[in-house]
């Protein structure tokens, strides 16, 4: 099952990944990271829908996302 990992401490909460994800599984977390942004994340229950396309990674300006397949 493909999986995405977010380095939440460097996420700036821009939202490009959320728009890019074709399965709409990315959302902003409810907490703030040290930079003061709400980091993007995929909750475990949504992870099963990840197809490992890396669209999110491709739109991320901060190399927050690692995609494994």
């Amino acid at each position: 099952m493909p999986r995405v990992t977010f380095r939440e401490e460097i996420c700036k909460g821009c939202g490009h990944c959320i728009v890019a994800c074709p399965k709409h599984i990315i959302s902003f977390a409810d907490r703030l990271n040290a930079k003061g942004y709400k980091p993007a994340t995929v909750t475990e229950d949504k992870m099963k829908d990840c197809i490992g396309c890396a669209s999110c990674g491709r739109m991320c300006p901060d190399c927050v996302i690692t995609v494994e397949k």
Binding site: R3, R58, M59, P61, D62, C63, T66
Partner: protein, 249 residues
């Protein structure tokens, strides 16, 4: 499971100063991915501009120069001519390349300098707080065009890709965008081709990348992408403007 997407090695593992959603981050990553894929990190030398990406020298893992405003192509010329076996790229914004640096980019292109230029066009001067750029659209409000850019007083936005394509010395000129995943992938292909042209000794290559500036446009990152699509792409058309790779040498 294997990692299929990760931070490229040619980008140092540091947090950037760019605003949330700024497409500099995407473009830096594409250049770094290309450097990784072509295996050229050890012989690449990049030249950073004056502008938001002035600190690019802190982000790319290869040897870097910080050039004076607009002079990156001249700096790159000095590097490449005396070190022809190295891969030299400039990374410039619209103030750096299209305003103060027009002489330097025109002449580097005209001489067919064997360098690669990444030109980031976001219709505004970001670093200094949102002033009018030569690429600012008619009617666009900026700090120095507070009533909207007026062609009578300040002329029309310059289409750099088309302008440079008229020069014999230019081998490959393309305009791309990084507003959607398909466009990002096309942008990467163009950037890769631009570096490959240098590796093959085939002359000057420039990729103009349409980009957003959410902070100075006064929009959210997502709104800014919409604005780019609605306003910039109609004026700055995407596509390869010149490709004489086959004819060179």
């Amino acid at each position: 499971m294997a990692v299929v997407f990760d931070r490229p090695k040619a980008l140092l593992d540091v947090s950037t100063h760019y605003c949330p959603g700024c497409t500099h981050g995407i473009i830096h990553r594409l250049v770094a991915e290309v450097i990784d894929e072509l295996g050229i990190i050890d012989k690449t030398i990049g030249v950073a501009p004056v502008g938001c990406s002035v600190l690019a020298y802190n982000y790319f893992a290869c040897d870097m120069f910080e050039a004076a405003h607009g002079r990156a192509p001249a700096c790159a010329t000095g590097i490449k001519r005396t070190n022809p076996d190295k891969v030299v790229f400039t990374y410039q914004g619209d103030g750096d390349l299209a305003s103060i640096g027009t002489a330097e980019i025109v002449h580097a292109a005209n001489r067919g300098e064997n360098i690669t230029t990444i030109f980031v066009n976001n219709c505004i001067y970001g670093m200094t707080g949102g002033q009018m750029a030569p690429t600012t659209l008619i009617g666009q409000v900026t700090e120095t065009s507070p009533y909207g850019r007026d062609a009578k007083s300040t002329g029309y936005p310059i289409r750099i890709a088309e302008m440079l394509s008229t020069l014999e010395g230019a081998t490959y000129i393309a305009r791309v965008s990084v507003d959607t995943v398909p466009n990002v992938m096309k942008a990467k292909q163009a950037i890769k081709k631009a570096f490959q042209i240098q590796l093959e000794g085939k002359g000057f290559a420039l990729v103009e990348v349409l980009s957003i500036c959410p902070t100075n446009w006064g929009l959210s990152p997502l709104e800014a992408m919409d604005w780019l699509r609605a306003n910039m792409i109609p004026y700055y058309s995407l596509g390869v403007k010149k490709d004489k790779t086959e004819e060179v040498k």
